[in-house]
């Protein structure tokens, strides 16, 4: 927890609670930043040296690490109603979570070191207040009330290299390459929701993305973002394959494919909390049926 975050949190009683959690190791351990709202297949939580299977509705506790396996997903609901979905083979850490509902202010930082993720801003999406960031090994994504997805690692490189805007010859580091794509809300959004945007900073340069389907790729540490470019349908499908909620091809899946695991110690947390959670993942890449074309859907087996 940084001094800056403390200053951010320091003006309200709720923020004071957050401060006290950090001041007291016991309280900090007990504070929760959200819950495991949905789990699919293999998801594990690492808390210190202990690794346990994740459990539905268990609290997301500060500094926990979460690991997802192949064809596995976890949806975390944070206290500010932000939804963070972790895809297959991922490793993510929530570095900071400060939320003051009275002031509609929040400060959130999530690190993704590997795998795919989807971020959906919480309530009052049209009035974001405070700093919300997602960090990858090579980029920082500043969020302005939006829905976006990303992937870090080999999958990012694989997807990006198939995009004409990136190309196969791009010099990249497969462990840290990061692909980020904005999903919405776009300029034609209906209803009481404003257009979203993200600012991707890497290699000393910042690129703003404000249109659905636009993406940037950061190939390695120190490199500037490539893009924005429009992610192809195939690229989006490949990304979705890591995040997707689909059954097995031909109608498998369903309840039988959902193995709810046990873990994540849950303790009632603060309205304001400062947190860290992580999601780690394996290597095997099992593709679920997002390979299907969108315009000419396949028949089920």
């Amino acid at each position: 927890m940084s001094g800056r975050a403390f200053r951010t949190a320091g003006r309200s009683a709720a923020a004071l609670a957050a401060m006290s959690m950090a001041a007291s190791p016991v309280l900090a351990q007990a504070s929760a930043v959200g819950v495991n709202a949905a789990i699919r297949n293999k998801v594990e939580i690492r808390s210190g040296r202990q690794v346990r299977p994740a459990v539905l509705r268990a609290r997301v506790i500060l500094n926990d690490e979460v690991r997802t396996g192949p064809a596995s997903q976890l949806q975390i609901l944070l206290l500010d109603r932000t939804t963070f979905t972790v895809g297959a083979n991922a490793r993510v850490a929530v570095d900071r979570f400060v939320y003051d509902p009275a002031a509609n202010s929040r400060s959130t930082s999530v690190s993704v070191t590997k795998g795919a993720f989807r971020f959906m801003s919480g309530r009052n999406l049209r009035k974001p207040a405070g700093s919300v960031q997602v960090r990858t090994p090579v980029a920082t994504i500043g969020i302005r009330g939006t829905i976006f997805e990303g992937v870090v690692g080999e999958d990012a490189l694989r997807i990006a290299r198939a995009e004409p805007a990136v190309g196969k010859k791009v010099k990249a580091k497969k462990e840290e390459a990061s692909l980020i794509v904005l999903r919405g809300p776009g300029p034609q959004t209906q209803g009481d929701v404003s257009r979203g945007a993200i600012d991707v900073t890497a290699g000393g340069q910042a690129v703003t993305i404000d249109g659905p389907g636009l993406a940037v790729f950061v190939p390695r540490q120190g490199a500037a973002p490539i893009g924005p470019f429009r992610l192809s349908a195939a690229g989006l499908q490949a990304l979705q394959a890591l995040l997707r909620t689909t059954a097995e091809p031909g109608g498998g899946g369903g309840k039988k494919s959902n193995k709810t695991r046990n873990t994540l110690l849950g303790v009632a947390g603060g309205v304001a909390a400062i947190g860290g959670a992580s999601i780690l993942g394996g290597k095997k890449k099992k593709r679920t049926p997002q390979q299907q074309p969108t315009q000419q859907p396949q028949k089920p087996r």
């Binding site: 001094g3 403390f6 004071l16 609670a17 401060m19 006290s20 950090a22 001041a23 007291s24 959200g34 819950v35 495991n36 709202a37 949905a38 539905l56 509705r57 997903q73 949806q75 609901l77 206290l79 109603r81 939804t83 979905t85 959906m120 801003s121 309530r123 999406l125 829905i147 999903r183 919405g184 809300p185 776009g186 300029p187 034609q188 959004t189 209906q190 009481d192 929701v193 659905p212 389907g213 349908a233 909620t245 689909t246 059954a247 899946g253 369903g254 309840k255 494919s257 009632a268 947390g269 603060g270 309205v271 304001a272 909390a273 049926p289 299907q292 969108t294 859907p297 028949k299 089920p300």
Partner: protein
């Protein structure tokens, strides 16, 4: 800074907020519980849509689909929401996953209302006896 603050005061402040914190957690529990089943999850998503909480509804539908990936109405509503959020490419991707599924006309009308003209997924094949 924090290290210099009286820990007792801090702890008392935190304790005073625990009921509110617990209530917030309870709210999250309720949201997660509602989406364990398709019907209750759909009802939640529709309430959120009515309240203009489209991202919240999207999250609810995502949870339903994680637990029930074969369910058709949640995916149709999910696709509709993507259209409303101006993510037509994403919506078409979702609809493509429904090939071979039985889609009711009222459900499809909801998709068209949100997305406009869009290709309807292929109907299911009859199984050979």
């Amino acid at each position: 800074m924090v290290g210099k603050m009286p820990r007792l005061l801090l702890a008392l402040s935190a304790s005073a907020l625990l009921p509110a914190a617990a209530a917030a957690q309870d709210d999250l529990d309720a949201l997660a519980t509602a989406t364990e089943q398709v019907d209750s999850g759909m009802a939640l998503a529709r309430r959120q849509i009515a309240a203009s909480d489209l991202p919240g509804a999207l999250g609810a539908l995502e949870r339903i689909l994680l637990a029930h990936p074969e369910a058709v109405p949640p995916r149709l509503l999910y696709a509709s929401l993507l259209c409303r959020l101006d993510d037509r490419q994403g919506a078409e991707l979702e609809l493509g996953l429904l090939a071979g599924k039985q889609i009711g006309d009222p459900d499809w009308a909801g998709v068209e209302a949100a997305c406009g003209a869009v290709q309807r997924p292929a109907a299911p094949r009859r199984k050979k006896k």
